[in-house]
Symmetry: C2
């Protein structure tokens, strides 16, 4: 096996637990009146589902409209919030400014229990970086908030198209002056790893609670199949 020199991480769900953090962020900014009248698990899941549809729609290589007028993930989450407010019948509860603030929930997500320890271990042996559809500022805020020790932050925003476009995987690999086979993509979602593999990168699947619903990943589909980042470090350094 060629030498792996850099690890690129999907972020939402893989590195941070968006489900818990986003719900807490909303509730901390909401009046008592709506705290129990809305199904916040459902609300949060729908917010996330809308994001998935958005990036899927904007990851095709012929999506030149995206390239010319790139909508950031921040902007998408903010617009989607208005739709959710209508759908859940809570119009007027928040001001426009409060909604702007609530939409920043995605900047302040906590890592999973193993995240900081695992990344710190991995950083001692490899270049570690994000490869996320989240925009640059979002990823920088998140790294400060959750104390993620990245060597480098790569966002789809740099390439003006979203994962799973090949341009994202190969663009980051080129900036690192590495061949795809020197790079390991780490994610809790098979669609991301399938795209990485197609572009020649190695793949590591991390099992994360609530991610990849309806998709049963198996160890045969990837190069590494782990329960957390500490386990990934152990497997990578045992070779």
């Amino acid at each position: 096996m060629p030498e792996i020199k850099a690890l690129l991480f999907d972020v939402f769900g893989t590195v941070v637990d968006w489900r818990t953090s986003v719900k807490e962020h909303i509730l901390a900014r909401s009046p008592e009146s709506i705290k129990t009248s809305v199904d916040w698990d459902q609300f949060t899941q729908e917010w996330r589902d809308g994001y998935f549809k958005f990036v899927s729609d904007n990851s095709k290589d012929d999506a030149t409209s995206v390239f010319n007028s790139f909508l950031s993930v921040d902007q998408q989450y903010r617009q989607a919030l208005d739709v959710l407010v209508e759908k859940h019948g809570i119009r007027g509860v928040w001001t426009e400014e409060q909604k702007d603030d609530i939409a920043t929930a995605w900047h302040y997500l906590k890592g999973w229990d193993d995240t900081v320890e695992g990344l710190t271990l991995l950083k001692s042996k490899f270049i570690i970086g994000t490869l996320s559809n989240g925009n640059m500022r979002l990823l920088v805020d998140m790294a400060k908030y959750a104390e993620l020790p990245w060597d480098v932050v790569f966002s789809s925003e740099l390439f003006k198209i979203y994962k799973p476009s090949p341009r994202v995987y190969l663009g980051a690999t080129e900036y690192l002056q590495l061949k795809p086979e020197n790079v390991l993509m780490v994610a809790a979602h098979m669609y991301d790893l399938e795209a990485a593999k197609k572009n020649g990168l190695y793949t590591a699947y991390v099992v994360r609670r609530g991610e990849d619903i309806g998709r049963t990943a198996s160890p045969e589909e990837v190069d590494y199949f782990v329960s957390d980042f500490v386990e990934l470090y152990k497997q990578l350094t045992a070779e």
Copy 2:
């Protein structure tokens, strides 16, 4: 004064002492025969001078040729090394592979004495990032080697044009979702700060040994004028 939220740092000379590190890197990879027969201070300075001319030639906004065929700083340093080898009459001393290795000298530069302490302090209050003409991989390697705790790495390579092009300063500012007046450019070279100021950023001049030869900067020309990064932290947080 508007609130400063992010600090962007020039790197060569401002954050790291290229002069000492590059010379040591070369000597560690050279046979005894040339260690004293070449003026290495002069050699290193000429290598640096060639880089300055290169980025100056490739920072004009109408330099579309650059945009279409961007030569990285790594590539430039490597090509320039061949020229220096001829000039200093040491052809044949190093193999092509050894020259490739020697050209990576610019990835492994040590910080000034205050660098890590100062950046760590500044990181506790602000977003801190590079804004360097060095390419991405070079900056990532340097950060690991010199333990520079960046929140984000911005390189001219992301914008396919070099500082002092406005596209570099404003591009990084946009990725941070900040207005120019929320960003402070930190450098040991007035040409860099003059360009930053012209684009609306705040400016901090750091006095560094051997930098800005032939240019006497004065405190009136910039917003902050400091001896090192710890002093910069004190001035920024005293307000």
